[in-house]
């Protein structure tokens, strides 16, 4: 397996323009900052926005009275059911994006297998299928609670925003398989803790049957993360010639 990285003419540092950097420092001395203060000045400008901000959106009410009266919902009386709905919808969104991340990685890997010979398409396909199954699990759980699984809740939106950079890495043809795996690794780390929290939340809110199903998903996510850690280690050490 050869390394797709290479040494070359990277121009982003000052070593390639030491004279330019020296001149820039002279300019800083001749033309100093026009205004006093420091980075805290920005905080003062932001403070009123923080104080007055509206939320990004709200958690939708159950669409039907029938839905609200379902047995699962009854057990949530006395709790803030909307928190469980928001977390489930957040996981649903993340799993949906996660499935697409695997789709993108598999598409790239099909033409660039030589960059990561320890990976197998079958295993990536299996992880992809499990991510897709997990989103179905969240969808069904939301239905069970009488919630609308098609709605974008605030947590679903948060996850969508947080995932933008991950897809940018994997979809970029210039990013290597190792760099793309790094993005999946970041996703799986957050996913793992997200499932762990969701299982705990469901249990604490009296949803034992649901928690059992979520626990099974968590165990699959743990396998994903363990594999990702191993692959990352192998691929980087191999590229470095250390293995």
């Amino acid at each position: 397996m050869k390394s797709p990285q290479s040494m070359g003419m990277n121009r982003s540092g000052i070593d390639l323009s030491t004279q330019g950097a020296e001149e820039m420092m002279k300019a800083v001395d001749e033309f100093p900052p026009a205004s006093g203060g420091n980075g805290m000045t920005l905080s003062q400008l932001r403070a009123p926005y923080f104080a007055e901000a509206d939320p990004v959106g709200s958690i939708p009410l159950p669409g039907t009275l029938k839905g609200a009266a379902k047995s699962g919902m009854q057990k949530l009386l006395g709790h803030h059911a909307e928190v469980l709905i928001d977390q489930l919808a957040g996981r649903l969104a993340f799993e949906r994006t996660g499935t697409r991340l695997y789709d993108a990685l598999i598409g790239k890997f099909m033409t660039r297998r030589d960059e990561a010979t320890m990976l197998s398409v079958d295993q990536l396909q299996q992880f992809r299928a499990e991510e897709a199954a997990h989103l179905g699990l969240c969808w069904d759980a939301l239905h069970q609670l009488g919630a609308d699984p098609t709605a974008v809740t605030p947590m679903a939106d948060t996850n969508a925003v947080a995932s933008i950079g991950l897809m940018q890495v994997i979809a970029d043809p210039r990013m290597t398989i190792a760099q793309s795996l790094h993005a999946i690794h970041v996703a799986e780390l957050a996913d793992n803790d997200g499932w762990r929290l969701l299982v705990k939340l469901a249990r604490e809110m009296g949803q034992d049957e649901m928690a059992g199903r979520l626990q099974a998903a968590l165990e699959e996510e743990e396998r994903h993360l363990a594999s990702l850690r191993t692959w990352m280690e192998q691929i980087i050490l191999h590229e470095a010639g250390a293995q």
Binding site: V28, S35, G37, N38, L42, L45, R46
Partner: protein, 392 residues
């Protein structure tokens, strides 16, 4: 390579073909490419953007020209796509903004030095010092919001220090207008400069208006709002230096000639083999557009295009660091302000501009806040702070 605008045929319009695959080529490397290749890509996107803007305006006012303009415009739109899509996805909107300001500084400085009309040169220098300050403000934002050193984009070619403070650049609209060149007396180079700087500044305005709402941070949203407002002032300034009595046909010919001049300038100085091939291809396309417009001028308007166009092109735009020139302009002219179409010392600035500025800055100044106490240093402010702590 000598270009003859009246005789060189270039690629005829019917042979200017694209495919979707062709429009989306390999992007440049943000990390490896020379900063001036990025500068040229950003400017040429602006040049093509202006060609579309003008063509649509012209079509709305000239029924007889609509078919001719539409045929050329389709090619220009695809050229703009191909050029703009050379920018890579890992170059964030704020990093690209740093590139836009480097364009505004280094290209304006090049034009100002080559400009034969002393008044137009003064106008260019006036705008230069304002864009120079924008680079400093955006560099502070990039460092303080994301922890990224703007010099990773500008690569040591361009100083990152305050210019005419952005907070002082807000003027009454009447103080943004300038005197136009006289189309009968102006050198061809003056006209090319005017169309080039107008194109670049208009695209810069549109870019900031597009990406301002993309930012989550309120300081970034305010800074883009503030600097976009100045870019709008610059568009007002630069469009007013163009003789408004030029006919629509004359303006079309000058737009095409200016595109030829700009692709020629890029081609002469480009080292990146892939990008250089694109400049060469599009220089030939633009010569084809110019020939097409020349024919329209003869057949539809029954006028001789030689009335409007020179035969040969001036020396290309100098794509290089103009550090010493910019510093000298900064020392000499930072305190100039505008009174109508004249430049005066800041003590003589009209009350109308002072009042307007007071109003706009009444709730605070984003450009002052973002750069409060900020000075460029290699690797960014956090590295400089670390050095100070170690020294202590």
């Amino acid at each position: 390579m000598a270009i003859n605008l009246m005789r060189d045929k270039g690629t005829p319009l019917h042979r200017q073909d694209f495919t979707w695959r062709d429009l989306v080529q390999k992007p440049i490397s943000k990390l490896n490419v020379d900063a001036f290749t990025r500068v040229r890509i950003i400017l040429m996107n602006g040049i093509e953007s202006e060609s579309l803007r003008f063509s649509h305006a012209c079509a709305r006012m000239n029924k007889d020209l609509q078919g001719y303009l539409a045929r050329v415009r389709r090619k220009e739109q695809h050229q703009q796509t191909l050029v703009n899509w050379l920018l890579p996805a890992d170059q964030s909107p704020l990093e690209t903004t740093i590139g836009y300001e480097q364009v505004a500084i280094e290209v304006t400085a090049a034009l100002a030095q080559a400009e034969p009309d002393p008044y137009i040169a003064e106008v260019l220098r006036y705008g230069l010092l304002e864009d120079f300050d924008h680079l400093y403000r955006y560099a502070a934002l990039l460092d303080r919001l994301q922890g990224i050193d703007a010099n990773t984009i500008t690569q040591g070619y361009t100083d990152i220090v305050p210019g005419r403070p952005t907070v002082d650049e807000h003027r009454d609209p009447l103080d943004d207008l300038r005197e136009p060149y006289d189309k009968r007396k102006a050198a061809p180079l003056t006209k090319l400069h005017a169309y080039t700087i107008l194109s670049g500044e208009h695209q810069t305005h549109d870019y900031y208006m597009h990406y301002g709402p993309w930012f989550a941070d309120p300081v970034a949203r305010q800074l883009y709002a503030e600097i976009a407002s100045i870019e709008e002032q610059h568009v007002t300034q630069y469009e007013s230096i163009i003789d408004p009595t030029e006919s629509w046909m004359e303006k079309w010919l000058l737009h095409e000639a200016n595109e030829v001049y700009n692709y020629y300038s890029c081609l002469e100085q480009e080292d990146h083999p892939h990008v250089k091939a694109i400049w060469e291809r599009f220089l030939d396309y633009e010569l084809g557009h110019l020939q097409f417009a020349i024919d329209v001028c003869k057949q539809v308007e029954r006028r001789d295009p030689a009335e409007f166009l020179p035969d040969t092109l001036p020396a290309p735009i100098a794509y290089k660091s103009h550090r010493e020139y910019v510093r000298q302009v900064l020392r000499d002219e930072v305190d100039l302000r505008a009174d109508g179409t004249r430049f005066v010392n800041k003590q003589q600035e009209p009350e109308r501009s002072r009042n307007y500025r007071r109003q706009m800055n009444a709730d605070g100044s984003p450009s002052e806040a973002v750069a409060a106490g900020w000075r460029w240093s290699p690797g960014g402010e956090l590295i400089a702070d670390r050095g100070l702590k170690q020294a202590a």
